[in-house]
C-alpha cells in the first residue's frame, strides 16, 4: 500500500493506483477529457493535470502512478489556470454550433468549459472546414468537432480490435481518419458504433433517418409498422430521466402508438423465432455431424467483422438472419397477408440499440419479401428524440402491449439484449428439441454477466454440450482464434459485437460505463423472470406462425425468409 497526501488529506491506496483514482478517496473527481475509465490512459488532453510537490511541471493524473509520500494538489491556482487555458485552446477552433449539435446537453467539452470557469476564449482560431465522412450507412464522422482525444481510436483498436481509424498528419493538422481517407463505409469498419459512445463531443454520430420516418408516418398512403429490439426497453428510460435499470417495455409500446405507427410489434417475437431456427440448426449439426462450433449470427457488426477478418469461419456461422431481419420479410409477407395490407405500402421501421443494423438492413441479401425488408432503422437515441419532439410525457405513459401477432414474446426473447442471452435462450429450446423434455433449471448463470469470455457445459441427454460466449470483438477474437486453430472445445458460441451485448450497442443512450451496461442487462433478466413464458418454443405466436405460415423450423419457407448467406470481404 502507498500513502500520499492529496490537498492535505492522507490517502492510502494500493501500489500502481493512478493519482486520479487515488483522488477519489479524497472525494475529488479530477476533471478529464481524454481519459475514459475502460480504456488505457492516454494522458494527452492534459486537462487532468495536478501539482505534485518536487516536480517542475504539472503531472497528468490519469496516467501517473502514486508513490509513497507524494504530495498532490488537485485544484491549485496553477492547476486551474492550466486547465482553463487548455479548454480555451480546444475551444479556439471548435465549431460554436452547440445549438444544433447532436451532443447538446451531454457534451463533455461544454460541461468542462462551464465547470472550469471558462468565460472567455482569448484566442481567435480559424474554424476548421473539413468535409464530413458520410460514406458509412451507419455512422457519420465530423472531423470539425473532433478534439483529438483519441478515445474513438482506442476503442476501435484496443476494445474492438478492428483498427480502422487512426491519427493522420502531424501537429495542428492532425485528424482522425481511415486509411487513405477512404471513409468508414469503405474500410473494415463493423459499424459497431462504440466510437460514438467513446466520443466526448459530437464528432461521431449515427446516420439518422428520423426525418424519413416522420415523413412515412405523415403519409396516409403508407402503413408503418415498427419493431423494437430487446435492449431498447432496458435503456430508453434513461433518456427521460427515469432511474438507470428501469424496464420501459410498456411505455415504449405506448409511445410508439402515440407517435402514429400503424402497428407496434416487437423484435422479441422474432428473437424467439430465431431461437427456433438456430436451436434446430444446432441440433441438426450435432446430430448430423455438421461443422462445429456453430456461431450465432444475430449481431451484424460481428457478421461484417467475420466477413473481413475470419471469412474462413463462414461455415461455422449460423445461417439464421438476425431477429431484425427475420421480422423484416415477415412483416411484408405474413403480416401483410393477415392484415390484408398491400406489402408495397408497408414501411417497416425497426428501433435498434445498434448502428450496425442500419448497414444490415441495406445488405442486398435482405430483400426476401420482394422489397427491402426493413426500410428504416432508428437507434434508441433517435427514437428518444422523436418522442421528445412529439412532446410525449414518456415517464407518465401507461404500459401497453405490442400486437400479439408479431409482438408476443417470452423471457428467452428478451434476454437476447444481454451478453449470453442468446446462448441461454438457445439452450432452453435446444434441450427440449433433443430430449423432448423441458430443461429444469433454465437460469444458465455461467453465461450471464460482464466477463469478456464465458463458458458453460450443459448435459443434454448424456451429451456434454460445451458453449462459450464473448462480447466485444477483442474478446471474440480469443474464441475465434481457437476455432481457426482447430482447438476450440465448443459446440456453440455466442458472439456479440458490443461490450455488454446489445444493451451496450452503438445506438443506445451515450455511455461507455460498463457497470451501466451490466445494469441494463439485469433489467432484461428480471423481465425474463417475470414473464409467463420463458422459453421460445412456448411462445403462442411462434407456434401460430409455424402452424399458419412457416410450417416448421428449417423448412422451405423458413429457409427462404429467415436464413441468409455471407460474403467474404476484402481487407484494405
Amino acid at each position: 500500500m502507498v500513502t500520499l497526501t492529496i490537498n492535505g488529506e492522507q490517502v492510502t491506496v494500493s501500489e500502481g493506483t493512478t493519482i486520479m483514482e487515488a483522488a477519489k478517496k479524497a472525494y475529488i473527481n479530477i476533471s478529464h477529457l481524454c481519459y475514459l475509465e475502460e480504456l488505457e490512459p492516454y494522458g494527452a488532453c492534459r486537462v487532468c493535470v495536478v501539482e505534485v510537490e518536487g516536480e517542475n511541471r504539472l503531472i497528468p493524473s490519469c496516467i501517473r502512478e502514486v508513490r509513497e509520500g507524494m504530495v498532490v494538489y488537485t485544484h491549485s491556482l496553477r492547476v486551474r489556470r492550466a486547465r482553463r487555458m487548455i479548454i480555451e485552446l480546444l475551444l479556439a477552433n471548435h465549431p460554436a454550433d452547440c445549438f444544433t449539435c447532436e451532443r447538446n446537453q451531454i457534451c463533455e467539452l461544454l460541461k468542462l468549459a462551464y465547470e472550469l470557469g471558462v468565460e472567455e476564449v482569448k484566442f481567435d482560431g480559424e474554424k476548421p472546414s473539413f468535409g464530413l465522412d458520410e460514406t458509412s450507412p451507419s455512422i457519420i464522422r465530423d472531423p470539425n468537432k473532433c478534439i483529438l482525444c483519441g478515445r474513438c481510436i482506442r476503442v476501435c483498436h484496443d476494445v474492438q480490435t478492428v483498427r480502422v481509424i487512426g491519427f493522420v498528419n502531424r501537429g495542428s493538422e492532425t485528424v482522425v481518419a481511415t486509411v487513405l481517407d477512404n471513409g468508414l463505409g469503405n474500410v473494415e469498419c463493423t459499424n459497431c458504433g462504440q466510437c460514438i459512445h467513446a466520443c466526448p463531443v459530437g464528432a461521431i454520430k449515427e446516420k439518422s433517418c428520423v426525418d424519413e420516418v416522420w415523413a412515412s408516418l405523415a403519409d396516409p398512403e403508407k402503413h408503418v409498422v415498427v419493431q423494437e429490439a430487446p435492449a431498447i426497453r432496458a435503456a430508453l428510460g434513461e433518456e427521460f430521466g427515469l432511474p438507470e435499470g428501469t424496464l420501459v417495455a410498456g411505455k415504449m409500446h405506448s409511445a410508439l402508438k402515440r407517435l402514429g405507427f400503424d402497428a407496434v410489434f416487437d423484435t422479441n417475437f422474432t428473437a424467439d423465432l430465431t431461437i427456433m431456427e438456430e436451436g434446430s440448426e444446432l441440433v441438426k449439426k450435432i446430430k448430423e455431424g455438421g461443422v462445429l462450433p456453430l456461431i450465432t449470427s444475430c449481431s451484424p457488426g460481428w457478421i461484417k467483422f467475420m466477413e473481413h477478418f475470419y471469412p474462413d469461419l463462414m461455415d461455422n456461422v449460423s445461417t439464421c438472419k438476425s431477429p431484425q431481419q427475420m421480422f423484416g420479410p415477415l412483416a411484408k409477407t405474413y403480416y401483410a397477408e393477415k392484415a390484408g395490407v398491400d406489402a408495397a405500402k408497408i414501411v417497416s421501421v425497426s428501433v435498434m440499440p445498434c448502428t450496425a443494423k442500419k448497414f444490415e438492413a441495406l445488405r442486398p441479401e435482405m430483400r426476401d419479401s420482394g422489397y427491402q425488408d426493413v426500410d428504416y432503422v432508428l437507434t434508441t437515441r433517435e427514437l428518444a428524440r422523436m418522442i421528445k419532439e412529439a412532446g410525449i410525457d414518456f415517464a407518465g405513459l401507461p404500459d401497453e402491449m405490442a400486437e400479439p401477432l408479431m409482438g408476443m414474446y417470452t423471457g428467452a426473447g428478451t434476454i437476447f439484449g444481454a451478453t449470453g442471452g442468446v446462448m441461454e435462450a438457445a439452450l432452453r429450446t435446444a434441450y427440449k428439441l433433443v430430449t423432448g423434455k423441458e430443461l429444469e433449471d433454465i437460469d444458465i448463470k455461467p453465461v450471464r454477466g460482464m466477463d469478456g469470455v464465458k463458458a458453460a457445459t450443459v448435459n443434454v441427454n448424456g451429451l456434454e454440450v460445451k458453449v462459450a460466449v464473448a462480447h466485444g470483438l477483442g474478446n471474440a477474437r480469443k474464441l475465434l482464434d481457437e476455432v481457426r486453430a482447430g482447438t476450440s472445445p465448443y459446440h456453440f458460441i455466442e458472439i456479440m459485437t458490443c461490450p455488454g451485448g446489445c444493451v451496450g450497442g452503438g445506438g443506445q443512450p451515450i455511455s461507455f460505463d460498463m457497470a451501466l451496461r451490466g445494469t441494463r442487462g439485469g433489467v432484461l433478466y428480471n423481465e425474463d423472470k417475470a414473464l409467463p413464458y420463458r422459453k421460445s418454443h412456448e411462445n403462442p405466436s411462434v407456434k401460430k406462425i409455424y402452424e399458419d405460415y412457416l410450417e416448421k423450423p428449417l423448412g422451405k419457407k423458413s429457409h427462404h425468409l429467415l436464413h441468409t448467406k455471407y460474403t467474404k470481404r476484402e481487407r484494405i
Binding site: G43, R81, A92, N93, R170, G171, S172
Partner: protein
C-alpha cells in the same frame, strides 16, 4: 587547445577502418572489453560526462541505471536525429568519423549489457547514412561487430534506422515509437527509458557527440577528462554557430568558454551589432550577456540553456518579434499533435506573433503570451511543447518595447 572529438577529423579517408585503426582507433574498445563493465561505468561517472543532446543528464548514471535493470534484452540507441534549426554538429562526426561512433557504441553496449544497438539518424543525412553503413560493414568484417568481439565473449551488432523527417522523433520516447514503426508521438515519463524504452525494454539512449567522448575517456582516464573545460561541466563541446555571424560553423571548444570568446575569437564576430543569441537553439531563451560562460550550469544560471550547443546569433538589424515568430513557426510545424497545450498552443502563439509581425498586435496579448508560455511549459507532455515558447517569452521579457511598437494603432 586540445581537441577530443574533432582531433583526427581532418585526416583523409578517416571513415576507412584501416585509417581509423592506424590512428589508434578501436584501442579503447580493446581496453574496455578487458575491464569489468562496472569499472567502465565508474570511469564514465568519474569523468562527469553529461549528455550533449540537450538534457545534460550524467552519462555514467544513465548507463548504470540501464545495466542494473533486470529486464532483458537491453538496447543502446544513438540519437542521431539532429534536426533543430542551427544544429549541425553531429553531422560532422557521422560523416567524417563514423568509426569513432561505432567504437563508442560497442563500448556502450558492453557496459550496459546490450547486444543490439541502433543509430536513429535523420533521414536527410544521405551521405552520413551511406558512410555509417559502410563503416558498420567494415567493422563487421574486421570482427569489431558481431559474435564474440575480440574473443571477449561479448556480441554486439548495430543497425542504422533512418528517420522520416519529423523533428519530434529526436525526442527520446518519440524516437522509440518511431523505431518501433509507430507514429512519432512522445510517451509519458515515467517510466524512463532506462527502465522501459525501445520495445519497453531497458534502453540507454545517447547523443552522437556524447558517445564519441567515450574512447578518449577510456584511453586517457576519467581524471584526465574531468580536468578539461569547466569545473561545472568537464570536457569539450561542439558549438554550432549560425545566424548573423561572420564565420558560421562547428567549433570544438572547452566547456566554459564565454559567449563573447566564441563569437569574437572563433566565429569571426557578429555581422553588424550583436543584439542577442539563442545559446541552445530555438528551444532556448535568448541571452544578451556576452560574458556568460558556455557550460550547462552557467547558461542555466543566466536563465537559458546550453542545449545541444547551437548558438544562433541575432544582430541589431533583426526584429526580435520576427525571431520569436520564426521559432514558433518551426514548433507549430513540428509538434506531434498529441497533447493539447503543444498542438494548440504552438499554433495560437504563432498566430498571435504573426499579428505582431504585421504591426497588428494587441497590447493584452503581450502578457498573454507569457501566460501561454507558462502553461505550455507546465502541461505539455514532452520537451518540444515545454520549450516551444522559450524564445518567444524571453523575447518579450528582454525586448518588450519591440512588441509594444508592433501593437496595432487604434486610429490606424
Amino acid at each position: 587547445m586540445e581537441k577530443i572529438l574533432l582531433k583526427d577529423i581532418d585526416r583523409p579517408n578517416l571513415n576507412d577502418i584501416g585509417i581509423y585503426i592506424d590512428g589508434g582507433g578501436y584501442k579503447a574498445l580493446e581496453k574496455a572489453l578487458k575491464m569489468n563493465p562496472q569499472k567502465v561505468i565508474e570511469e564514465v561517472k568519474n569523468s562527469r560526462l553529461v549528455g550533449r543532446g540537450g538534457a545534460a543528464f550524467p552519462t555514467g548514471l544513465k548507463w548504470e541505471f540501464t545495466r542494473k535493470e533486470k529486464n532483458e534484452p537491453k538496447f543502446l540507441i544513438c540519437n542521431a536525429d539532429e534536426g533543430e534549426p542551427g544544429t549541425f554538429k553531429d553531422r560532422v562526426l557521422l560523416k567524417n568519423n563514423p568509426h569513432l561512433l561505432i567504437e563508442s557504441m560497442i563500448i556502450g553496449g558492453y557496459t550496459i549489457g546490450a547486444n543490439k544497438g541502433f543509430i536513429y539518424i535523420r533521414g536527410e543525412y544521405f551521405e552520413e547514412i551511406k558512410r555509417l553503413n559502410e563503416a558498420i560493414e567494415q567493422a563487421r568484417t574486421e570482427g569489431y561487430l558481431g559474435e564474440n568481439i575480440l574473443n571477449s565473449n561479448f556480441s554486439f551488432d548495430l543497425e542504422v534506422y533512418c528517420g522520416a523527417g519529423a523533428y519530434v522523433c529526436g525526442e527520446e520516447t518519440t524516437l522509440f515509437e518511431s523505431l518501433e514503426g509507430k507514429r512519432g508521438c512522445s510517451r509519458e515519463r515515467p517510466p524512463f527509458p532506462t527502465q522501459s524504452g525501445y520495445m519497453n525494454k531497458p534502453t540507454a539512449i545517447n547523443n552522437v557527440e556524447t558517445l564519441c567522448n567515450l574512447p578518449a575517456i577510456i584511453n586517457n582516464g576519467a581524471e584526465w577528462y574531468s580536468k578539461i573545460g569547466s569545473p561545472n561541466s568537464p570536457g569539450t563541446k561542439l558549438f554550432c554557430i549560425s545566424g548573423q555571424i561572420n564565420r558560421p560553423g562547428v567549433y570544438e571548444l572547452p566547456m566554459g568558454i564565454t559567449l563573447r570568446e566564441l563569437i569574437e575569437n572563433y566565429g569571426g564576430g557578429a555581422k553588424g551589432e550583436f543584439k542577442a543569441a539563442l545559446p541552445g537553439g530555438v528551444s532556448s531563451n535568448l541571452l544578451t550577456d556576452l560574458d556568460v560562460k558556455l557550460d550547462y550550469k552557467s547558461v542555466a544560471d543566466a536563465g537559458s540553456m546550453l542545449g545541444s550547443g547551437a548558438v544562433i546569433v541575432i544582430n541589431s538589424e533583426m526584429s526580435i518579434v520576427d525571431v520569436a515568430r520564426n521559432c514558433l513557426e518551426f514548433f507549430t510545424h513540428e509538434s506531434c499533435g498529441q497533447c493539447t497545450p503543444c498542438r494548440e498552443g504552438t499554433r495560437r502563439a504563432n498566430e498571435i506573433l504573426g499579428r505582431f509581425v504585421e504591426g497588428k498586435g494587441r497590447t493584452e496579448d503581450i502578457d498573454f503570451l507569457l501566460e501561454l508560455g507558462e502553461v505550455m511549459y507546465d502541461a505539455s507532455r514532452c520537451g518540444l511543447g515545454q520549450a516551444a515558447m522559450n524564445a518567444a517569452t524571453s523575447a518579450v521579457n528582454l525586448f518588450r518595447d519591440e512588441f509594444t511598437q508592433q501593437v496595432k494603432n487604434k486610429e490606424g
